[in-house]
């Protein structure tokens, strides 16, 4: 391992690191929004839409991100939708993550005890008020550990973006290996890059899970 090569590479990896973070951020944000919509539609059993989104969830969960990404990046332009590599990456992450986030929210919403819903009804809340004041605040806080786990999962999945040549961390490392043969140095920088993002997150996740097990509410 040649440390000066690692050092020289820092600015390049810094850029790649920021790209990984940026794409993760938009992908995860989009996935959370999609997940919320899907879980609400299914929770409130909105007719028709419920079935369509149910099909989306199955397609999203039962196919790999890589092929989803290829489809968006290569097949969509054939159908007339030209899309940049970064936009495909983010769209792919949203398509994949949306169903995982939906499952996380659904778990939380289902975890809200039935008596809470009934007592909300008993004081005359409308369905929307019930969602706003009772089900959502409680359900969302129950789903936090699962959401955190999905955040980690989705950040890791951004490594697949390399297949559409987005210069994120993995792609940058592969470039360095391919062009300069600095294999050890490139892999070292790559692992460090992900570790900086993922280790704090997974420590946070462990903490959240422990807190959830102890029951932060407890009636």
């Amino acid at each position: 391992m040649n440390w000066s090569i690692v050092q020289q590479g820092i600015p390049t990896y810094e850029k790649a690191f920021m790209i990984t973070l940026k794409l993760s951020f938009w992908g995860i944000l989009g996935a959370i929004i999609v997940g919320l919509i899907v879980s609400f539609v299914r929770y409130f059993k909105v007719p028709v839409l419920q079935r369509i989104l149910g099909a989306y969830v199955e397609l999203s969960r039962n196919t790999p991100l890589l092929i989803q990404l290829f489809f968006i990046y290569y097949a969509f332009p054939e159908l007339g939708f030209k899309i940049s590599a970064e936009a495909s990456g983010v769209s792919g992450l949203i398509f994949l993550g949306g169903s995982y986030m939906a499952a996380a929210f659904a778990g939380g919403l289902e975890g809200v005890p039935k008596i809470q819903v009934e007592s909300g009804r008993a004081i005359g809340l409308t369905d929307w008020q019930l969602a706003q004041y009772v089900v959502l605040p409680q359900g969302l806080s129950l789903s936090i550990p699962a959401i955190a786990a999905n955040v980690i999962f989705l950040i890791k999945e951004t490594s697949i973006f390399t297949v559409v040549a987005i210069p994120e961390l993995t792609n940058t490392a592969l470039d360095q290996i391919g062009m300069l043969y600095d294999t050890n140095e490139a892999l070292f920088s790559l692992v460090v890059g992900y570790a900086i993002i993922l280790i704090p997150l997974s420590i946070l996740l462990t903490w959240l899970e422990r807190r959830a097990r102890r029951g932060s509410f407890g009636n």
Partner: protein, 229 residues
Amino acid sequence: MAHSGINILFEGRNMVRLLGGLWISAKIAIVAIVVGLILGLILGALRTLHNPILRVILRLYLEFFRVIPTVVLLFLFYYILPQNFNINMGAESMAMLVFALWFAAEMSDIVRGGIISVSPHQVDAGKAIGLNRLQLYYYVLIPQSIQLMIPATINLVSRIIKTTSLLLLISVMDVINIGQQIIEANGQRYENGAFWVYGFIFILYFILCYPLSLWARHLERKEVVTANG
């Protein structure tokens, strides 16, 4: 005149090649699952022993495979083994190794979770009739927790099938890699070649994974019912 796109799948030996690619992915997945299952069971059981050093080591093993993206794991093994340890294996065997170790890591957590959920009274009862520790695991703990582990294991199998899509990255001739070649070779002559080829592969994966997820969900639901009943 470009041909209608769907025929790209059926021209020449294209379909046979695609399915051949799928078989490579399947072969790698099957080996990884079998090895990972056995190793995962052993490691999971070991993680329930009260040996702090073993626990820390196995936990680190799990976290290593869990924190690092699978793509990066593949490249670590792909580049580091031959260069630094002089171990040369084909890309396929290397993928089997990485996936098996990954599967074992995740499996060990499922097994551990299942075993520690068995009531401690069962352990006491087993000890009381004179079972030794191995017998305790074999006759009491594992049989009672296996039902709990099955849905999570099915989901893990489905995950590894989806992960085989990454084989492309280390130049294994998997279904996606072959799909790419077919598009490159025939793309000029067909409209929407990428749409049909990638769409076909998309559906192939779906056909493999969807039944698994239905099965896992069915078992989970059954479990809830028995637990309540």
